[in-house]
């Protein structure tokens, strides 16, 4: 069955035989120039060539992404939201590839329009045509209107809307408006798949001309009862009253209603129930009456898997097939990565904003019983140049439980202050990645596990250092 769907997709490639029309010459030139740039960028060892080729191709033909997307035999899925984009895109890609489809996706977290373009270029042939069945694109929230207009996806997933990098994006409200305008412009044939548990996402979905497909968690046993400090969308959009939460799952995502009954969580069309968490190692849950077991940890990943499952169902994949396929998935690059060094287990987890950090901390401390930590904080553009958000993360969770905490990254000194005021004794701050690793390794016994929770570029820096020491492969090879 799997082979047949692949064969069917390939059989749809008859358009190959059409004569080259004049308007596609520009596209072909753009594709070739972009591809050449990517090859040069990789050959010079300056990186994975994940966005620059897109830049070059778009300069030659601004409509190149739109044209490439229309080469896809099946269509596209676009994934946005503050947290979980990369993991969810990876899951959807994994599901589609297992069903025999050729998938193009922007895997390396290059989620602006240039990154999506570069990914499409990468799979285009010398005639400028994209040879793939599905496109799976993770798209930065602010780039969504443009991406959706160009890609015309069959399904658009909105995972959540948390506060993230205010210096770069403006405030939550303007992001929400951008997503709303993108989703409102979708054609009727396209499905919006939205998180019902996120009040700000729900507000967007309730205003759409075509009702979305709602997903949500339904298991009070894994809920918290109070909103964490990082919660930020908690007033009723109609009357302004503070929302009442019956359950809080992640950040401000949960089961909520307005005390004046003006607004409430939409009833999910697809839910995850009977959730069993096992540290960073795995979880199991029932989704659409199908039992899922997956080697990813943390409640936040339950949302990602549920969203991917909802997308798969919308695209016609069978629940039984998806359950089977998900058993063997691997974590997306750096989102959660395990490696060994001198008998120590290192668990590298991307933690880039208050909602995400609170969840990785909760998973590391409560579920995985972690005692040794490296907290990496950088303030480059991709991390957010404003580090004030660390004060909204509940590092107090580490109190009396962590034995070793190494503040690391270009803002290691800010992290050291944060830990001091959280009542968590810490090692001296180490801004230099090699020294930070040395400090962690020295304090960690053989056979023990250390958790490395890092912002985006702090993770890249540590990973580069690990590569230098021969511990992991460079990311464009994974």
């Amino acid at each position: 069955m799997l082979d047949r769907s692949g064969a069917r997709s390939r059989a749809l490639g008859v358009k190959d035989k059409k004569p080259i029309r004049k308007k596609s010459i520009r596209k072909t030139a753009a594709v070739l120039a972009g591809k050449a740039t990517g090859a040069l960028s990789r050959a010079s060892g300056r990186g994975g060539g994940t966005t620059l080729p897109g830049d070059v191709a778009r300069a030659i033909d601004p409509r190149v992404l739109s044209k490439l997307a229309s080469d896809l035999t099946q269509g596209s899925v676009v994934i946005t939201g503050t947290n979980g984009k990369t993991t969810t895109a990876r899951l959807v890609t994994w599901l589609l590839e297992g069903a025999g489809y050729r998938v193009v996706s922007n895997r390396a977290g290059a989620n602006l329009i240039f990154g999506a373009t570069a990914a499409a270029l990468n799979k285009a042939g010398p005639d400028g045509r994209l040879r793939a069945d599905w496109g799976v694109f993770e798209i930065d929230e602010a780039s969504l209107p443009k991406a959706v207009a160009e890609i015309q996806p069959k399904a658009t997933l909105v995972l959540n809307l948390f506060r993230d990098q205010l210096d770069r994006y403006g405030e939550l409200e303007s992001i929400a408006k951008k997503i709303e305008s993108a989703l409102s412009a979708l054609p009727d044939s396209s499905t919006a798949i939205l998180n019902a548990d996120d009040p700000r996402v729900a507000e967007i979905g309730l205003g759409l001309p075509k009702p979305p497909l709602w997903f949500g968690l339904d298991d009070i046993r894994v809920a918290m009862h109070d909103l964490p400090h990082a919660a930020d969308a908690r007033t009723c959009p109609k009357c302004g009253a503070s929302l009442h939460f019956d359950a809080v799952y992640v950040g401000h995502d949960g089961v909520y209603e307005c005390p004046n009954h003006d607004f409430a969580r939409p009833t999910p069309n697809i839910t995850a129930t009977n959730i069993k968490l096992d540290g960073f190692e795995r979880f199991s849950a029932d989704i659409a009456k199908t039992h899922i077991e997956i080697p990813l940890g943390g409640l936040y990943n339950t949302y990602n898997v549920l969203a991917a499952f909802a997308a798969g169902r919308t695209l016609g994949l069978k629940p039984k097939y998806m359950a089977e396929r998900l058993r063997n998935v691997e974590a997306a690059f750096g989102r959660q990565e395990r490696m060994e060094f001198r008998g120590r287990h290192l668990n590298l987890v991307l933690s880039k904003n208050p909602a995400g950090f609170n969840e990785t901390l909760r998973t590391a401390v409560d579920l995985a019983k972690g005692t040794n930590f490296l907290i990496g904080l950088n303030d480059r553009k991709a991390d957010g140049t404003d580090v004030s958000w660390i004060w909204d993360v509940d590092f107090e969770q580490l109190k009396a439980k962590a034995k070793v905490v190494v503040p690391a990254g270009s803002r290691a000194h800010d992290m050291a202050v944060r830990l001091k005021y959280a009542g968590v004794p810490a090692e001296p701050p180490q801004a230099e990645p090699g020294r930070a690793l040395d400090s962690l390794i020295k304090a960690t016994n053989e056979g023990d596990t250390a958790h490395l929770l890092c912002t985006y570029t702090a993770m890249l820096d540590l990973r580069a250092e690990l590569v230098r020491r021969g511990w992991a492969k460079p990311y464009w090879e994974t």
Partner: protein, 253 residues
């Protein structure tokens, strides 16, 4: 004379659920911990919408920034409930730290790009007008407070409002790096009596422990406290120093 009961130090957080976007909790934690470490009984009163409870007990109020939607909700409540007890508390010597949106709301008015005026509560002699460009980045200020050691304050700004001071308010300091109040007169923040307004977050107080102590001490003078015992601030001042070094590096380029 030995005291049987610890002396209280109380922080009042105005609208903790709505005006908290720039890691403002760091300011609250810094005030509370630094009082606690010195043996005070540190207490936090959260002043959400509709409540004025225990505002007379507060030593230092904190008023942070919010998103537009939340700020509109706060504005209505401020005029209806908080203004009179807040003014009374300040007359009795309580301190106020107002950052960004809170700073603007305590002034005379905020004028939008379309010329619309939103009156503030005029507790401080400042007015704010909308600007086109957003000021975003590190801020280093040479403070206008004699007792501070070091003299510098460091923070991060992110605002499009241009704030101008009237004769009753004096600037918190002179900007060495960053745009400050309005990007034109080289000044940052304001001081008027026990009210301190600023655009600096980051959070402000954790990397400026000397300013935190200034606020604590100024508010406790009325309770007969004139000296605060010294603390080990090496971790905080190392983070402060890193920002100064970056600023120097940025200027020399």
């Amino acid at each position: 004379m030995p005291r049987s009961k610890k002396q209280a130090f109380t922080v009042g957080w105005l609208y903790p659920d709505l005006m908290n976007i720039y890691g403002d909790r760091g300011n609250i934690l810094t005030l509370l911990k630094r009082a606690e470490w010195r043996g005070f009984e540190a207490k936090l009163i959260e002043l959400g919408r509709g409540t004025t409870q225990q505002m007379e007990e507060v030593d230092v109020f904190f008023f942070g920034g919010g998103q537009d939607r939340e700020q509109a909700l706060v504005y209505a409540d401020l005029l209806e409930f908080k203004q009179p007890p807040l003014e009374q508390a300040v007359r009795n010597g309580a301190g106020v730290l107002a950052v960004c949106g809170g700073y603007q709301l305590l002034g005379h008015y905020y004028q939008t790009a379309d010329g619309e005026l939103f009156p503030g509560i005029a507790m401080i002699d400042v007015k704010t007008e909308a600007g086109k460009r957003r000021f975003i980045g590190d801020v280093v200020v040479d403070a206008n407070i004699d007792t501070l050691n070091p003299k510098t304050l460091v923070g991060f700004e992110n605002h499009s409002g241009r704030t101008f001071l009237g004769p009753k308010a004096r600037p918190l300091g002179k900007t060495r790096l960053g745009s400050g109040n309005n990007g034109s007169d080289g000044m940052e923040g304001c001081l008027q009596g026990t009210v301190l307004g600023t655009y600096m977050h980051g959070s402000l107080l954790p990397k400026n422990p000397h300013l935190a102590d200034y606020l604590i001490r100024s508010a406790l003078i009325r309770r007969g406290v004139d000296e605060l015992s010294p603390l080990d601030d090496s971790v905080e001042l190392a983070a402060h120093e890193r920002i100064l070094q970056r600023a120097q590096h940025a200027q020399s380029r």
